[in-house]
Every structure is written in structure tokens, then in C-alpha cells.
């Protein structure tokens, strides 16, 4: 974990309001899938850095996949090759690959992505490849994105779009049944996470969630990013973002 200026190698739009930014990883720190970084351009505003998951780590580069939502991500999207930004990380507890794979030979793992929740799954799928059979169920409002990136590492892909423009029409929860898998890993908006947790609970299938919260420090110091869990208020940035679904209490 460190904080430093990084140089943009490329930053391009890959779908409407979705960008992929690759920076030179000059420090080459070990990064677990599911970990994240705090990113801030050199602009004074917005004040706080923004958390983004590691989308991929390769050849001394780090890649982030992000959706432009407000001023923070707008500033990121405006960066061009050669420009610098401040990155702090890697942060948080990522996916425990050994824990996911366990003792099983090629356990069946399902990744459930809601929209930009797909971001951490490329590096996760890459890390799981050959150790597990990996399926992806991805839901989008409309046109899917970032799917091609994952094909190399994933055995099966099911897609749902809310407007029916691609794949099954409706929510992503329509395109999988947890009983078909040993582990379900989800990342996406809260209502989706809640639904996936519930489905897995009914099916008695292990479920892992990558949670979100607004952050300030990103390093566990300010207690600003807590969520309710069975173990008390835990920090998404330091105790998570990856949690066992059984721990997470949604009725907030």
C-alpha cells in the first residue's frame, strides 16, 4: 500500500459513459483481485479521491474500468496519455482465491455482475482460470460492455438487459440458478446484491459480495465507509470490500 503519482498510458471510452484507463505500474506492488485503489486527478475539486476496483494487472500496468457518474469520474475521463494522477493502493481485502477454490477440484464459480460491477471480475477471472470453472452472469441496463475482455477466462456467459436489447430481458437474477454452482460472487448495485444473497441463502450456496460505500480515507482510519454486518459496523475499505454474504445486513 502506497500513495504516488502514476502516469496514464491510455484512457479510452469503451461504451457510453464507460471508460478504461491503464496506468504505468512503476511500483509493481502485489495486487489481489477484488482490491481497489483511490484515484484523484491533480484538480482541487472534488476534494476526495475516488475508489476504483482493479480491473486488470498485466505487464507492469494497472487497468481500471469505470463509469462516469459525477465530477470525480468526469475528471478521470478527461485524463490523456502522459498525464499524471495520484493513486493510493492497493487497498482492502480482495477475493481470497484459495478460500474460493477450497479443496474441490475445479469448483464451479459464478460471477454475478450488475453494470459497472463487472469491473473487478476480469482480474478475478484471470486469477481463477484453471483453478475453477468460471461462469459469468452479467446484467446491464442496456448495451453490455467489457464482456469480450472476460471471454478468455470464463467458460460460460449469460447476459440480461433491462431493456431487452441484448440477451434475456430483465434482471440478471433471471439468468442463473445458484444451485448449479459451488460459489457465487456478486458485485453490483445494492438491490442486486440483496437479491443474490437471498437466492444463495435459499439454495444454501456460498455467496461472496464485493460491497460499496462512500469513502474518505480508503485506508480504514476514518470509519466513514462502514456497513452493518453480523460482526458490527465494518469498514468497506479495510475490512472489505469483499464480505461473506452471510455477514452483510442489508436492512439499513
Amino acid at each position: 500500500m502506497t500513495t504516488d503519482l502514476y502516469t496514464v498510458i491510455s484512457n479510452k471510452q469503451v461504451a457510453p459513459s464507460i471508460f478504461s484507463m491503464t496506468v504505468k505500474d512503476h511500483l509493481n506492488l502485489p495486487v489481489q483481485p477484488g482490491q481497489f485503489h483511490m484515484l484523484k486527478t491533480l484538480a482541487a475539486e472534488p476534494l476526495l479521491p475516488r475508489p476504483l476496483s482493479i480491473n486488470d494487472v498485466e505487464n507492469e500496468t494497472l487497468t481500471f474500468l469505470y463509469e462516469v457518474k459525477g465530477d470525480g469520474t468526469k475528471n478521470l475521463a478527461a485524463l490523456t496519455t502522459g498525464q499524471q494522477l495520484r493513486i493510493t493502493g492497493p487497498l482492502g481485502q480482495g477475493f481470497n482465491i484459495d478460500g474460493i477454490v477450497g479443496n474441490a477440484r475445479l469448483p464451479k464459480v459464478l460471477l454475478v455482475a450488475g453494470g459497472i460491477g463487472i469491473a473487478p471480475f476480469k482480474y478475478l477471472a484471470r486469477s481463477l482460470a484453471k483453478k475453477a470453472t468460471v461462469s459469468l452472469a452479467a446484467g446491464f441496463r442496456s448495451n453490455p460492455y467489457a464482456i469480450d475482455d472476460l471471454k478468455e477466462f470464463v467458460d460460460d456467459i449469460k447476459i440480461a438487459t433491462e431493456d431487452g436489447s441484448y440477451g434475456v430481458e430483465g434482471r440478471v437474477t433471471l439468468v442463473f440458478n445458484p444451485v448449479d454452482f459451488d460459489v457465487v460472487i456478486a458485485c453490483g448495485p445494492t438491490p442486486m446484491m440483496r437479491a443474490v444473497k437471498e437466492m444463495c441463502k435459499q439454495a444454501k450456496v456460498k455467496c461472496i459480495l464485493s460491497m460499496e460505500a462512500r469513502m474518505a480515507c480508503g485506508i480504514g482510519a476514518c470509519l466513514g465507509c462502514t456497513i452493518r454486518t453480523t460482526k458490527g459496523m465494518l469498514r468497506v475499505c479495510a475490512d472489505g470490500p469483499v464480505f461473506d454474504a452471510n455477514e452483510v445486513i442489508f436492512n439499513d
Partner: protein
């Protein structure tokens, strides 16, 4: 380094209630946990000291709902003093962090007199260097800031706590006080050894789409660069009025900002929000202060303290 150039290295050390800080930059309560997280970026011993997350007698889960909200050049927070309680602090946390700094400030909050007294008694008996009495937290229902608003309440709580406090007592003032200078004088009279200010400003944010306040508690505390000009004015007002040392804070981001607070009369400063924006900023602030002093021929901060 030759003897001459050594002699020119500016001396950033300051005395705060008989503790010598190697420099006047202290990590502010609630923004640096218990100091351990800082170690990822620098060793806390490079700082003048650090102040722990606010401790209360009993463990507190803190507030529900959104706890952070950004504003123009500011941060609103409503953490609600989430902490493991003084007992866990003394038994489990303190041994791990004692070695990190020679100015370990335990920030203590409460909701009634008895809680405050018992918490201060327990923590000040342990191996901490100073107690920072938080009478200014705007984010807990009963108590906290309530004590920091009216002069008589502030005086009463300090009077009650003083005999229980076995260490130097720093009282952290609220910018929401009705008459800040009057509070400062009263707190001094009741035996505070030094003062720190400002805590966060009571502020409001509204989500116009849900037509609800952003925070469950309606209001929350504003910190960060936005408040600096007001915090600096308050620091000067208080430093001019009292005889005890003042630790200034509110929006400090650079060494120059810190120098402004010293010129306004502060003996030392605390840095909160800026350290969350950039986790290695505190050592940079110290460097910038040293550079400024060197460039301006200032060998000791006393030369400029309170010059305004």
C-alpha cells in the same frame, strides 16, 4: 553537513504542556484511527503527535446511514463516535500504539458527566501523554457538542473532569459555540492546560431528489479547506484571549496554511481532512514548514507565533 549549515536548519520543535513535540504537526482526531494505518505511508514518529479517534466509556457502533458527504472544498461527516470504548482502548489498543509517538493524545468524548469523568479517569491513568476532551462533536445525540455551545456547560464539564485527569488536559472547542472566546476563557479558568480548535461546523446537506437530509441525523460536521479562513480567525481570537497554548486546525493542507495558524497564535496545529485526501500529506506539510522557515530566515517558530 557542516556546523554552519546545521545551525541554519530551522528548529520546528515546540513545547506543548511540557511535552516537546519534534514539530507542531499533529494528526487530528478521527482522521487517523489509532495511528496504525499511518504506518503504511510513514512512521507516525515523524509527526509532532497524533490524536486518537474519539473514545467513550462504552463502545459505540456509530451512526447508521451515510456517514460522509463531500461539499465544495469540504467534507461533511457523521461518524457518531464509533469506537471500542475506553477499556478496550487501554487494554488492547494502547499497547500496540504506545511506541508510535512521544505525544499520544487520547481524544475522549461522552454523553453525560459521569461517562466523561470515568472515561477520562481510565484513559488518563493509562500510558497516554495527553487527554483531548472533545466537547464539540456535532454527531452524537446526547452530549458531545452540547457541552461546547454554552459557556456555563463547557465550564461545568471541564470542572467536573479536571480532577479525574492525570495528564495534561487539552479541551477541544466547537466553532458552533455561542461565544467562543468566552468559552475558551471559562475552560482555561477551570483548569484546561491547553485548547484545540476547531472541531467541525454544524452543517446541512439535502438530497433534493429524495427530499430528505443526506444524513440520518439531519446535520453533520463540516471540515476541510472550505472552513480554513473561519477556523484561522477563531484561532486568532482565542489565542489572543487566553494564556494557555492553543492548537489550531481546520482545513490545513499545506505548510503555508500551518504557518498561518502559527502566526495567528497557535503553538501547534492538527491536520485532519487533508490527510485523508492524500495520506502522506502530513510529512509534506512538515517539510514545507521547514522550507518556508529556511527561506525566510526563521530559526524557531517562536519568532512568528502570534505575530498577527
Amino acid at each position: 553537513m557542516t556546523k554552519e549549515s546545521l545551525a541554519q536548519v530551522p528548529d520546528l520543535s515546540v513545547d506543548l504542556c511540557k511535552i516537546t513535540l519534534k514539530n507542531p504537526v499533529i494528526a487530528a482526531s478521527g482522521t487517523c484511527g489509532f495511528g496504525l494505518e499511518l504506518m503504511h505511508f510513514y512512521h507516525p514518529s515523524v509527526l509532532g503527535g497524533f490524536s486518537t479517534k474519539g473514545l467513550t466509556l462504552y463502545p459505540r457502533p456509530g451512526n447508521h446511514g451515510i456517514r460522509l458527504h463531500e461539499t465544495r472544498a469540504g467534507l461533511m461527516n457523521s461518524i457518531g463516535l464509533q469506537n471500542p470504548g475506553t477499556e478496550v482502548f487501554v487494554k488492547e489498543i494502547l499497547p500496540k500504539i504506545r511506541g508510535l509517538t512521544n505525544c499520544l493524545i487520547a481524544n475522549v468524548g461522552g454523553s453525560d458527566f459521569d461517562d466523561y469523568i470515568e472515561a477520562v479517569e481510565m484513559v488518563s491513568a493509562a500510558d497516554v501523554d495527553m487527554i483531548e476532551l472533545n466537547i464539540s462533536c456535532p454527531n452524537v445525540k446526547c452530549g458531545g457538542m452540547a457541552f461546547g455551545i454554552r459557556t456555563q456547560d463547557a465550564a461545568a464539564i471541564v470542572k467536573a473532569v479536571r480532577p479525574a485527569c492525570k495528564k495534561p488536559l487539552m479541551v477541544k472547542l466547537s466553532p458552533n459555540a455561542h461565544d467562543l472566546v468566552e468559552v475558551a476563557l471559562a475552560v482555561q479558568d477551570e483548569g484546561a492546560d491547553c485548547l484545540s480548535l476547531v472541531n467541525t461546523f454544524s452543517a446541512l446537506a439535502i438530497d433534493v431528489y429524495t427530499r430528505k437530509p443526506v444524513f440520518n441525523n439531519v446535520t453533520a460536521g463540516l471540515s476541510g479547506p472550505a472552513i480554513k479562513p473561519i477556523a484561522l480567525r477563531m484561532t486568532r481570537d482565542v489565542a489572543k484571549a487566553v494564556q494557555i497554548p492553543v492548537v489550531g486546525m481546520g482545513g490545513i493542507e499545506t505548510g503555508i496554511d500551518a504557518i498561518e495558524f502559527i502566526m495567528a497564535g497557535a503553538t501547534a496545529v492538527q491536520v485532519g481532512t487533508a490527510g485523508m485526501v492524500q495520506p502522506d500529506i502530513l510529512p509534506k506539510i512538515i517539510d514545507e514548514m521547514a522550507q518556508f522557515m529556511a527561506s525566510q530566515g526563521i530559526s524557531n517558530l517562536k519568532e512568528i507565533q502570534g505575530i498577527i
